[in-house]
């Protein structure tokens, strides 16, 4: 007689935001084997970038890979293209780009926290966090002119300037938000029913994090100190008060805490950017055609985003390789599922913050 049962999760499931299918091999309630299918939303962006669009338009195409980290995608591509063209942006452009990326990180982390709370059965907290998230969305909409598709970064600069009224709006909204985040930290730390769902569940050990090349908040929660912001020198993060946040336990609680403390750190960095914005042009003309090969790594909210761009001096690029954070995090995620209870699977999955449209691109 067969001892195990197979239970699928997805491709459509109440706890999922996007289509992904997990096949769990269960022994009673314990998961002993996992198989994942991630390619439901494949759109062929890489092919489109090298066939249908010119290199100046590709920045707007790759922004459509993912709705949540649109700005990170267009920034990574733009940096790669600028390196190929031999252009270095001035400080004002760098600061404005960093501001948008950090605002993006705050709202993406808030979405993940809200979703983890919902999947642990805390519907009211989900609504509360999503309501607070509007503060950041409002700022981003005011700066870039659109709520989701920012289209803010272009080759040679940024498309819009930060006026003093916008600076005031950023300061005001972040002030309100930082108070709310303090309350959230208390809630996630002390609430008894949340701790039942989070503490000691879905543990990724440090050893496994190294073996499976975990990245982003998933790795930092296990104690693996890796962050692309500290491993690249494209942006002056250290000067703006960046600190790497590392937890040690590796469970859902630790991942939530990495995110919460990163929000606090990002808020402080955004304030520093707004207060110390250097003067300069926001857009400069860049001439030439991309030739050669360039690699760019950017810390997206979910981990490391990697772009490889190769051009041969023509208007259309030869290759654009996109490696998204969730894509390389999947082996580590499957490892976490093994040994945990089936009933915890939705909460564990939400705590990874998986982005399927990034993964399948």
């Amino acid at each position: 007689m067969k001892k195990t049962i197979q239970i699928p999760l997805g491709s459509q499931h109440i706890s999922l935001l996007e289509p992904i299918r997990f096949k769990f091999e269960c022994e009673n309630e314990t998961i002993i084997g996992v198989d994942a299918d991630v390619g439901f939303v494949h759109r062929g962006v890489e092919l489109a970038c090298t066939r249908s669009f010119e290199f100046k338009q590709v920045g707007y195409v790759v922004a459509r890979v993912c709705g949540l980290c649109a700005i990170t995608h267009s920034l990574a591509y733009t940096l790669a293209a600028e390196k190929l063209l031999g252009y270095v942006a001035n400080d004002r452009i760098k600061y404005l780009r960093m501001l948008m990326v950090e605002l993006d990180r705050i709202h993406s982390h808030l979405l993940c926290l809200a979703h983890t709370a919902e999947n642990a059965g805390f519907e009211a907290l989900f609504m509360q966090i999503m309501g607070d998230r509007e503060l950041v969305m409002e700022v981003q909409e005011a700066i870039s002119g659109n709520r989701v598709q920012f289209d803010y970064i272009c080759i040679g600069g940024v498309n819009r300037d930060l006026t003093s009224e916008l600076c005031d709006l950023v300061r005001k909204n972040l002030m309100i938000l930082s108070e709310k985040v303090e309350v959230l930290i208390g809630l996630f730390d002390n609430n008894w029913s949340l701790s039942l769902k989070y503490k000691g569940i879905g543990v990724l050990s440090l050893e496994d994090a190294y073996t499976y090349n975990a990245l982003g908040p998933l790795a930092r929660a296990s104690g693996l100190a890796t962050d692309v912001r500290a491993e690249t020198s494209d942006f002056p993060y250290e000067a703006l008060g960046y600190t790497m946040i590392v937890e040690s336990t590796g469970d859902i609680h630790a991942r939530n805490f990495v995110r919460l403390r990163e929000i606090v750190n990002s808020i402080a960095m955004c304030r520093n950017i707004v207060d110390n914005l250097p003067m300069g042009e926001i857009q400069e003309k860049v001439k030439g055609k991309p030739k050669g090969e360039e690699i760019v790594r950017i810390e997206a909210p979910r981990g490391e985003l990697f772009y490889l761009v190769r051009g041969n001096g023509a208007n259309i690029l030869e290759r654009v390789r996109i490696k998204t954070p969730t894509f390389s995090g999947i082996p580590a995620m499957m490892e976490v599922f093994k040994g945990s209870q089936y009933a915890d699977a939705p909460a564990i999955l939400a705590s990874f913050d998986p982005c399927m449209s990034c993964t399948a691109k």
Partner: protein, 148 residues
């Protein structure tokens, strides 16, 4: 327990955080990226906007006598504003308004109608280029006749 009851009671009198959408207007921020608008008198028809547009939402129809006609698909447009930045006469010939595009319905022919225009514009270009070519050799063949 008592604290929770007090909290729940307070929530009854707090203002709601959502917007009652169809009844209440959504307020758009200043500088919202909306529809692209065009003035055919100020435009010099240089085609720069057509070339830079990422989704190809701007097309020019070439008339045989030489004039051009501007076509814009507001549902295909991604409102990035790249065309306005490429325009040699921004704010006069081409500018970005703050009006939000309404959802397209079947009657608008969002896709089908646009495909027809794409085809027509392409054909008009080719026909114009062919006509120009035809005219040129004629002129050349006329010239030697005049000399002799």
């Amino acid at each position: 327990m008592f604290k929770a009851m007090v909290e729940a009671f307070k929530n009854l009198f707090k203002p709601v955080r959502t917007i009652n959408y169809p009844a209440q207007e959504i307020s758009l921020p200043n500088g919202y990226r909306g529809l692209i608008e065009h003035d055919h008198e100020a435009c010099i028809y240089c085609d720069k906007c057509e070339k830079v547009c990422p989704p190809g939402a701007i097309l020019f129809y070439q008339h045989e006598e030489g004039g051009k006609e501007y076509h814009y698909n507001p549902w295909l447009c991604i409102y990035c504003g790249e065309c306005v930045r490429a325009c040699p006469k921004p704010d006069e010939a081409l500018w970005q308004s703050e009006t939000k595009q309404q959802s397209g319905v079947k009657e608008d022919g969002v896709n089908e109608g646009w495909f027809v225009w794409e085809e027509a514009c392409k054909e008009s270009r080719e026909a114009y280029a062919a006509a120009k070519k035809e005219r040129k050799p004629k002129m050349k063949s006329e010239e030697p006749l005049c000399v002799s």
